[in-house]
């Protein structure tokens, strides 16, 4: 069996695992939508000109849930249950195992994004050219990669209950300091400095740049920062994986 085939089968299994746990999957899907509906639609000033802004940042927010909770904290649970130990002795190449998890995570993010875009277009008054929608979708989908890797680092480094706590903290940090709920330019100076250290901040700026907003710094710079975070998290996953072996 070639690697692509194996990746497909493994991803399918991961997808079924996530999908057949509705108590886990549904909150992950609904939470970002509920947040967006509340802050982006119900409480937003109509005609304030910020419709696209909110959707760009909430799209990044939508990628946090599946990546951190379903797959990060999820792997900690699998490890505690003894599922990971059994996987580690099978001849499944490690990159395929983790790749399948990331792809599934992106799949879930894609579902949330579809619902979010529909909500934004119909009820949120967001009007964008078709190309911009597609570019935005690309940024939002790819955002799941660094965040998913970060989730795996947490999941591989802590036991299930500790991982849940740490994940909540990471989730909050990425959402608040990344400027996904409140724009970063409203923060005091020291908080703005902290934002620079959040991958979510750079991802949000990228999404804003794509949606035609003026941003602080260059899109290229934020892209490079996001890539840097991705590589650093990937290295951290490799390290955590070896440690999780025992």
């Amino acid at each position: 069996m070639n690697s692509w085939n194996l990746l497909w089968l493994e991803t399918r299994a991961e997808w079924l695992k996530a999908w057949r746990q509705p108590a886990f999957a549904i909150p992950t899907l609904v939470l970002p939508l509920a947040f967006y509906a509340l802050f982006g639609i119900v409480l937003a000033r109509p005609g304030g000109g910020n419709e696209a802004y909110l959707m760009a940042t909430y799209g990044v927010f939508a990628s946090l849930g599946p990546a951190l909770f379903a797959f990060g904290a999820g792997i900690a649970h699998e490890r505690d249950a003894g599922q990971l130990a059994l996987k580690q002795v099978t001849p499944l190449p490690v990159p395929l195992y983790l790749g399948a998890k990331l792809l599934t995570c992106m799949g879930f993010t894609g579902l949330v994004l579809l619902a979010l875009y529909a909500l934004a277009a119909w009820a949120g008054g967001v009007v964008l050219p078709r190309v911009t929608w597609l570019q935005l979708a690309l940024v939002h989908l790819l955002a799941a990669v660094p965040v998913g890797l970060l989730g795996l680092v947490v999941g591989l480094s802590f036991g299930a209950s500790a991982a849940m706590g740490v994940t909540n903290l990471v989730f909050l940090g990425l959402a608040v300091l990344g400027g996904l709920w409140i724009p970063v330019f409203l923060f005091p100076g020291w908080m703005q400095a902290l934002s620079q250290a959040m991958p979510s901040y750079h991802l949000a700026e990228l999404a804003l740049a794509v949606s035609g907003r003026d941003i602080t710094g260059s899109a290229l710079g934020h892209g490079a920062a996001a890539l840097g975070f991705t590589l650093a998290f990937a290295a951290a996953v490799a390290w955590a994986w070896r440690r999780a072996h025992r």
């Binding site: 194996l6 089968l9 057949r20 599922q83 002795v89 001849p91 025992r246």
Partner: protein, 307 residues
């Protein structure tokens, strides 16, 4: 000229497991203190020993889940835990589980895809006795059925090395016997089976070879018959009024333990012991003399090891 088709599997030069002078420490505790282990194809090798003897550590080394502090170890000529070694290995771990949301069929199909030369799915299910449970989710299986599903995953890839760590823990008598039979079939197909157990009847029923571990060393290594014959002792069982201390002082007696209403004696000189016993206790009743069971032999060997 016609070409002769070569057999589908090339002859394997490297032994399934080849280990020399294996040492593993946990802080100040030495779990393995220099163990040599070679495992042959087509045979069931059983690691036997009390808790803490080093069985699980040795299995951890073979699977590449632990690293040895000293010594060399190869699995089919490859480093343990490497992808090449894992392709030759199937394993059933002690405290393991499968994803509860997937069905037995989904699990076996997925795992079979990992191996280059997997067994047909229907054969795997039949060998593990799971034909009727294929569509059931793992979470809906009983404890024993879950163990069988784990066994199916361990052997679905036709591994050259099958590692079974306490495979029958939690199984009822029927399931245990069925699993023994399946293990036998796999060994007859040519797999090298490495099995840990603390159940002596399991070792006696299944093993071609018993490796007895005690305190991180190999205390004995041979067929169950050889292990038994290394201990010339016999067992006596009787109903007697004599206190244990007096029984232990009888000629030839190495051990005396209460067994319900009876007392069990181990002796190296059955006739002398009997004569002395009958003389000392005229009320002696329900006397029974038996040969050495594997359990008795192992206990004697462990006793010697500790002395």
């Amino acid at each position: 000229m016609r070409t002769v088709s070569t057999p589908s599997k090339p002859p394997h030069a490297a032994p399934p497991v080849h280990g020399l002078g294996l040492v593993r420490r946990y802080g100040a505790v030495t779990a393995l203190a220099g163990v040599d282990l070679d495992i042959q194809a087509g045979r069931v090798t059983t690691l036997l020993g009390p808790n803490g003897a080093g069985k699980s550590t040795l299995v951890g080394l073979v699977l590449g889940r632990l690293r040895a502090d000293a010594g060399t170890l190869q699995v089919g000529g490859h480093a343990p835990g490497s992808l090449a070694a894992r392709r030759l290995t199937g394993a059933m771990l002690q405290a393991a589980a499968l994803a509860p949301q997937l069905t037995v069929h989904e699990h076996v199909a997925l795992q079979s895809g990992y191996y280059p030369d997997a067994r047909p799915l229907a054969d795997t299910l039949a060998l593990a006795g799971l034909q009727d449970l294929a569509k059931r989710r793992y979470e809906a299986l009983s404890g024993g059925q879950q163990r069988r599903a784990q066994f199916a995953l361990a052997m679905c890839g036709r591994p050259r090395l099958l590692v079974l760590d306490e495979p029958t823990a939690g199984l009822d008598a029927d399931s245990r016997r069925a699993l023994w039979q399946a293990v036998r079939t796999l060994a007859d197909e040519g797999a090298a089976v490495l099995l840990t157990t603390h159940l002596l009847d399991e070792a006696d029923a299944l093993a071609d070879r018993v490796v007895l571990l005690a305190n991180g060393r190999v205390a004995a290594d041979g067929t169950p018959g050889e292990i038994r014959s290394r201990v010339a002792a016999r067992s006596l069982r009787c109903l007697t009024a004599l206190p244990l201390a007096q029984l232990r002082a009888l000629p030839g007696v190495t051990a005396a333990e209460p067994r319900g209403r009876h007392v069990a004696l181990r002796t190296l000189a059955a006739e002398e012991t009997l004569r002395a016993l009958l003389a000392a206790d005229p009320s002696l009743a329900e006397l029974e003399v038996t040969g050495t069971s594997l359990e008795d032999a192992v206990l004697d060997l462990l006793h010697k090891e500790a002395a």
